[in-house]
Subunit: 506 residues, 2 copies
């Protein structure tokens, strides 16, 4: 690049910029033009720039405009004022620097071949290669998704209008630590009766997601190197979150009554944390027996262990009423209860919650506010009202019937397609009394990942059971989440993968 007198160069360039439908004010255009010229080396370092008066005259601009441009570039460190002798360009141009961040910002840069592009870390790569990573496509039977069309949008909207009128905008600014007290009260009242949770509103801490709830538990109750005991198979994002917070993962296979309590005679040190899904083991779908619950409470008390009760979808129980929570059985405050509304209202609603032990509630609330702020307070206000006026209970009741019908349709379709394999004990359905998924189980020799990949390619997302297994555990099956699939679509979808299923279980 040749060096030119600044005003000559600008006289050439400025009309080009202006012609390029650049709608920024002329001052901003001029600043960008000089900035780019300096950065890409067109304008040489140590070049003295014309006085603002001269440049203004040359370009036909107001002098004030040019003064502002020079000031801006001085603040950016691109120009420097000499001692009483004008203003100079600084020595800043660098190889590999964008030659025109303002002119050509639309283009995504290709990493130059000479530079090694940034790569994922080992744990980032582990995530990338985790077998669950590919099952997020928006296809039928995909997990963690409710039917948003069953949500009473019009009603919700009316409540929101009402609350917006009532709410002082200033209240949107900040809430009580850990979320809006009105919502904490509504949640506490609801889970006391619906879930048998023992709690005061002060124990409820609002979070954005169950992952965030888990993170707070890991940050406040665990140190790097502490052990967490996981159910096997297990909700994979919980395991990954624990690992990413420095926890040492251990696991034990669940039996039909839930996660067994380690024998105390073994002399092993007790885990600091135990992650449990007592209402509906994820993904196998059995509830934990009361006997086992009581053993865990005794164990936690004896060893100072924290029990995480992830009560993710217990509102949906189809045979009988939902089991009361593990937390409600414990009088010694060793259970941290986690709930979420993304499994009862819709996936997009970013409200989950923690019920912390009373003596730890304040620090959980503070930490939630410090790290994640207090959440969307209007949304919290609307949800509080929705619960308090009974709409939440109505919604659960109504959707429970619909989800029960979908579950029935799915179970029937699977039984029909796999009648022979089921009769011969080569396939079975696990779970389904609660929650919104069924797990189809096969003998351990069936390659469920290959099968799931083929189903995925046929437009049906059925994550393989083995992907939820920790360590060397060998379980084979497919997890089918039916909540978001309309009732009448269920059987045809199962028929679509029927031949694949029969072939795999032959």
């Amino acid at each position: 690049m040749y060096t030119v007198a600044l005003h000559e160069w600008l006289k050439q360039q400025l009309p080009l910029v202006r012609a390029a439908e650049d709608r920024r004010p002329i001052g901003a255009q001029l600043t960008a033009l000089i900035r780019n010229g300096i950065l890409n080396g067109t304008l040489s370092p140590a070049l003295r720039i014309p006085s603002s008066r001269m440049l203004a005259t040359e370009l036909g601009l107001a002098r004030n405009t040019v003064v502002s441009v020079y000031e801006q570039l001085q603040m950016e460190g691109l120009l420097v004022a000499g001692h009483g002798s004008g203003t100079y360009i600084c020595r800043v141009a660098r190889e590999g620097v964008d030659t025109g961040p303002w002119r050509d910002a639309e283009g995504v840069s290709e990493p130059a071949s000479a530079h090694t592009p940034l790569s994922l870390s080992a744990r980032g790569k582990a995530y990338l290669h985790h077998p669950m990573h590919r099952y997020w496509r928006p296809q039928p039977f995909r997990g963690a998704l409710m039917d948003a069309s069953l949500f009473p949008h019009a009603l919700w909207n009316r409540i929101q209008q009402q609350q917006m009128r009532l709410l002082d905008p200033l209240d949107l600014g900040e809430g009580d630590a850990g979320g809006l007290m009105a919502l904490k009260r509504a949640i506490a009242d609801h889970i006391r009766t619906a879930r048998g949770v023992r709690c005061q509103p002060e124990q409820v801490v609002i979070t954005d997601s169950t992952t965030e709830s888990l993170e707070l538990v890991a940050r406040l109750l665990c140190d790097a190197g502490d052990t967490i005991l996981l159910e096997n198979p297990c909700y994979w994002a919980a395991a990954q979150t624990a690992a990413d917070h420095g926890l040492h993962l251990t696991h034990c296979d669940v039996d039909e009554w839930g996660l067994p309590v380690p024998p105390s005679s073994e002399g092993l040190s007790a885990p600091r944390l135990v992650y449990l899904t007592p209402s509906n083991q994820f993904p196998l779908g059995n509830p934990m027996s009361v006997e086992r619950r009581l053993e865990w409470i005794e164990y936690a008390r004896a060893h100072g262990t924290v029990l995480i009760e992830d009560d993710y979808d217990s509102e949906y129980r189809f045979n009988g009423e939902p089991f009361p929570s593990l937390q409600g059985l414990d009088t010694t405050d060793h259970v941290v209860y986690l709930g979420t509304f993304s499994k009862t209202l819709y996936r997009g609603i970013r409200i989950a919650f923690i019920v912390a032990p009373p003596h730890l509630a304040q620090v959980f609330a503070d930490a939630s506010s410090d790290f994640y702020r207090d959440g969307d307070l209007l949304l919290q206000q609307v949800l509080a009202h929705f619960i308090r006026e009974g709409h939440f209970a109505t919604h659960i009741r109504r959707t429970r019937l619909e989800y029960a019908a979908r579950r029935e349709a799915l179970a029937q379709a699977l039984q029909q397609e796999l009648a022979d394999a089921m009769a011969a004990g080569r396939a079975s359905i696990s779970g389904g009394a609660a929650g919104v998924h069924l797990t189809l189980r096969f003998g351990a020799h069936v390659d469920d990942r290959a099968l799931a990949a083929r189903c995925e390619d046929m437009g049906v997302t059925t994550p393989p059971l083995s992907a939820y297994c920790l360590g060397n555990a060998r379980m084979s099956g497919l997890v089918l989440s039916y909540a978001a699939t309309p009732r009448e679509s269920i059987a045809p979808l199962v028929v679509r993968i029927g031949a694949l299923l029969r072939e795999a279980t032959r």
Copy 2:
């Protein structure tokens, strides 16, 4: 407790429960009553329970109701069916178990004195005792808070109504991985011109908060034990988040041009991550010079280091236009850019974002969806519209004027109260050209924590600068965030703590 025949006992108890304004269906009341009786030992294990027909007759209930109650309790593992000879109570009662989780769930349990209550972990305690932990009270000058009354609620509301009518409820269910594409597009367009960020919409990943953005970077690009280099002083929640994800924290004092680049001759291994606030160093308030930015880009390229650019409040620059971003200067994709709307719209809006390098954008989007879901899609739709129609730019322009006036009022009030100390160089104001806080600096001997505690007690929240310092660094000062304090209240509040400030700087 004495053992009684079940039906006799129930005939006594059931009317009491019904009288206690228990609005649950009779079946649920009966289930809870028997469950509690079993758990607290009132009903002996191995007791044979009456047939459903007999109990129904005795209690005057439909037989079906009693059958359902028995089935529920069997599922819970509290009753067991004998072989052809009736149903029995299981041996499950345990000491220390709540005697009535359904009758007395309102009472918060006191940890029995014989049991050690759960305690915080070492890092939980470090958080609890962090000097910043006490500065969350909703008082004037508190940080991380904008003036929600300046937000155009009515306009936002209209857009929301409109979008709600247009949106298919099913679209609320799930979005594109990493957030709604319409919002990604709007953000990309905005930051390309307003912030000089080089990006395509696909590189934008929507998150709930900057903490969540940082967590994704730590989870995907770092392993436990990796080093992060932090600016000193530093945004404390960023440091804590990095530490909680297993990173090894190192730090270096910032100078007037920003964080110095480590000399390459030192032979020390380069950090994996560098956390930078180039637009407005937090909390000192200086922008990083262009020269320094270019040095960092060169360093990152040479060492394979990830630069995090936390551009938290760069939209608010009062002298001249905002500096273009560090990310826009980099052609080698070593910068991960973080932005947030909670500093421009209102604290409660839970929308922040990451601009990932192009080749890593998909895995960031996937991980965001896998761990934190896709966010509130209606909210994202409304924000996309708000930006695209120019309302966001208008809002920034309007509030920038108001915040500039508040900043001026604060600076003047401080200069007036501390005229002598400032003239003698014992106090000065740092920052203020951008962002929404000023930092009052004192000599290192001033005990800023004692001073801040006294201000806090007088109703003015001014976190001490030393609380943001890492290691043994000794900086003394107060951080005053003025955005949420009305203009006319600012001077009186400064006068209120004026004597304290003068005394401390004498």
